[in-house]
C-alpha cells in the first residue's frame, strides 16, 4: 500500500475497525514511513485532548424531571372524537342508559357514593396544579416548627409535621388547598427530583375505611390511608414503590 491508501484506512485502524490483514499492513507502514506516522500521531494527540470531561455539556439540573413530566402529560388519555360507527350505536346506548337510570333510581341509596366526581382526580389535580404554577408551597421551610404553627387558624386541626430528610423525603413546606370545598393541609416533600404532596384533613365520618388504597391518575400515583382520625392522601409523580415507602415512613411516625 502507498501512503495515500494508508491514509484512507488510517482512521479505521486508529479506531480499531480494521481486519487483521489490513491492520498488519498499516502497522508495517507506520514503522517505515515517517509521514504516515505523523498522521497517526496527530490522531493520538487529538484524542488525548478530546478526552476531557470539560468539553462535554452537562444537562441542566432537574432536566430529567422535566422530561418525566412531559412524558406523564403525553400519556394522558386523549378525548376521542365520535366517528360514524360510534354514532350508529347511540340509540342503543340511550336505551341502555334509560335501563341503567331506572336501576340507579331504584338503588339510589346504595349507589350514591360512586356517583360523586372522582376525588382521586381532584386530589391529583391539586398536586399537578401546584407543580405547574407558582403555588407549590405557601410556607417554605424545612423546619417542622415553622410549618406546623403556620396552619394554626387556617385549618381546624393540627396536622402532624415531620421532616424525613434522612429517609430521602425532605420537607419543603406547606400549603393550604381545597378538596371538596374544604380547607386541607398539604405538606410538600421533595424526593430526589420529585415532589410529594401529602394532603391531610380530619376524617368526616367515623365509619371511614382505614384501609390503605393506591390509585394512579394520569401518570401520577396516589395513596390513601387513614391514621389517627385523619384522612391522608400522598400524591406524586414518583414511582409507586417510592411513594409506598413514603407512606410507610409516615405511618410509622404516626403509629
Amino acid at each position: 500500500m502507498n501512503c495515500e491508501e494508508i491514509l484512507t484506512l488510517l482512521d479505521a485502524y486508529f479506531d480499531n475497525e480494521l481486519d487483521l490483514a489490513k491492520t498488519v499492513a498499516i502497522e508495517e507502514q507506520l514503522r517505515t514511513c515517517a509521514s504516515c506516522r505523523s498522521q497517526y500521531e496527530l490522531r493520538v494527540a487529538l484524542r488525548s485532548r478530546l478526552d476531557d470531561p470539560d468539553l462535554r455539556y452537562a444537562a441542566p439540573k432537574d432536566f430529567a424531571d422535566q422530561i418525566r413530566k412531559k412524558l406523564a402529560l403525553s400519556t394522558r388519555p386523549t378525548r376521542k372524537i365520535l366517528s360514524f360507527p360510534t354514532i350508529a350505536w347511540i340509540p342503543a346506548a340511550v336505551a341502555a342508559a334509560a335501563v341503567f337510570g331506572a336501576f340507579v333510581y331504584a338503588n339510589i341509596g346504595r349507589l350514591l357514593p360512586t356517583e360523586t366526581p372522582s376525588l382521586v382526580a381532584e386530589v391529583a389535580s391539586d398536586h399537578i396544579r401546584s407543580l405547574i404554577g407558582t403555588h407549590l408551597v405557601d410556607v417554605e421551610s424545612t423546619d417542622q416548627h415553622t410549618v406546623k404553627p403556620w396552619f394554626a387558624g387556617k385549618v381546624d386541626f393540627s396536622p402532624p409535621v415531620r421532616d424525613f430528610a434522612d429517609q430521602g423525603f425532605k420537607l419543603v413546606g406547606g400549603r393550604l388547598d381545597y378538596v371538596r370545598g374544604k380547607n386541607v393541609a398539604v405538606l410538600v416533600y421533595r424526593f430526589k427530583n420529585q415532589y410529594v404532596s401529602l394532603f391531610i384533613c380530619p376524617e368526616r365520618t367515623p365509619e371511614a375505611a382505614s384501609e390503605q388504597k393506591s390509585f394512579d391518575y394520569q401518570g401520577y400515583n396516589l395513596v390513601y390511608w387513614n391514621a389517627n382520625g385523619l384522612d391522608c392522601w400522598a400524591v406524586s409523580e414518583a414511582a409507586p414503590g417510592a411513594l409506598l415507602e413514603f407512606v410507610k415512613i409516615q405511618q410509622e411516625e404516626h403509629s
Binding site: T8, L10, D11, A12, D15, E17, S38, E41, L42, V44, A45, L46, R47, R49, L50, D52, L55, R56, Y57, A59, P60, F63, A64, Q66, I67, R68, K70, L71, S74, T75, P113, T114, S118, L119, V120, V123, V179, R180, K182, V184, C201, P202, E203, R204, T205, A208, A209, K213, S214, F215, D216, G219, Y224, N226, D231, W233, A239, P240, G241, L244
Partner: protein, 221 residues
C-alpha cells in the same frame, strides 16, 4: 373526606387501578437492569400505559447526558438543546415499540440527531440559510503546512472547544459520537443514517480539519 374512603372502597375500577399500580411497582423492580430489553418482551407482560412509561424511563432517562451533550453541540445553545432533547424523548416514547435492538443508546441518539436536523432546518429556513450539507463546509486546504502534534498538544481547552464548534455539522457529529460516546462505526452509521464508509471518511476529514484549525489558531497567536 369520608367520601374519599367511600370512594376507595366502593369504586370498582379503583381497585383495578390499585392492582395495576402494584403490578407496575413489581414490574419496575424487575425491569431495572437488562432483564427486559425490548418492547416485544414488555408486551408479553401486558403493560399498560403507565408501566410502559416507567419501563421507558428506566431504559432511556439514564442516557440523557449523552443525548443532551449531542444536542447541545449540534444546536449550539442551551435553550434549543433542551427543546430538542424533550422532543426527542417524546418521540422516542411514541415509537418505543419499534425499538428492538440491543443498543438503546444508539437508538435514542439517532432520534436526537434527527430532531436536531429538523430543528436546524426550521431555524435556518427562518434565516434563509439553505443547506446543512457538509459540502458547503470549507475543505481542508492542501497548501497549508501540515499540522503538527505540538500545536494540538499545546492548544487550550477553549481552542479545542472553538475548533470543534467550527467544524461542519456532520463532522462535528461523528467526532462527538466517536470520541465522546465511543460508538463503533456501525453504530455511528445507524445513528447518522449513512454507510460505514461515509462514517470513516467523515471522521478522517473531521480529524484533519480539526488539526488544521488548531494549527491555524496557534499561528495567529
Amino acid at each position: 373526606m369520608a367520601l374519599l374512603s367511600d370512594y376507595a372502597t366502593s369504586c370498582g375500577y379503583a381497585v383495578d387501578e390499585e392492582k395495576t399500580s402494584r403490578e407496575c411497582a413489581v414490574m419496575e423492580s424487575e425491569m431495572t437492569g437488562d432483564k427486559i430489553n425490548s418492547a416485544v418482551d414488555a408486551d408479553q407482560y401486558g403493560m399498560n400505559d403507565q408501566c410502559r412509561r416507567i419501563h421507558f424511563e428506566n431504559q432511556m432517562l439514564p442516557l440523557m447526558s449523552e443525548a443532551y451533550n449531542l444536542a447541545r453541540w449540534m444546536m449550539k445553545n442551551e435553550a434549543d438543546a433542551r427543546d430538542v432533547v424533550q422532543d426527542a424523548y417524546l418521540k422516542a416514547f411514541r415509537y418505543f415499540e419499534s425499538f428492538h435492538g440491543d443498543s438503546g443508546r444508539a437508538w435514542l441518539l439517532r432520534i436526537v440527531r434527527n430532531v436536531c436536523y429538523d430543528a436546524l432546518r426550521a431555524r435556518d429556513s427562518r434565516r434563509n440559510i439553505v443547506s446543512l450539507d457538509e459540502e458547503t463546509a470549507a475543505e481542508v486546504p492542501d497548501s497549508k503546512p501540515s499540522p503538527n502534534v505540538l500545536a494540538i498538544q499545546n492548544s487550550t481547552k477553549l481552542r479545542i472547544r472553538e475548533a470543534l464548534e467550527a467544524l461542519p455539522l456532520e463532522f462535528k457529529t461523528v467526532i462527538i459520537l466517536r470520541e465522546f460516546d465511543g460508538f463503533s462505526y456501525k453504530e455511528i452509521s445507524d445513528i447518522a443514517g449513512v454507510p460505514v464508509g461515509t462514517v470513516m471518511s467523515r471522521l478522517s476529514r473531521a480529524r484533519r480539519q480539526l488539526a488544521v484549525l488548531l494549527q491555524e489558531e496557534g499561528e495567529n497567536e
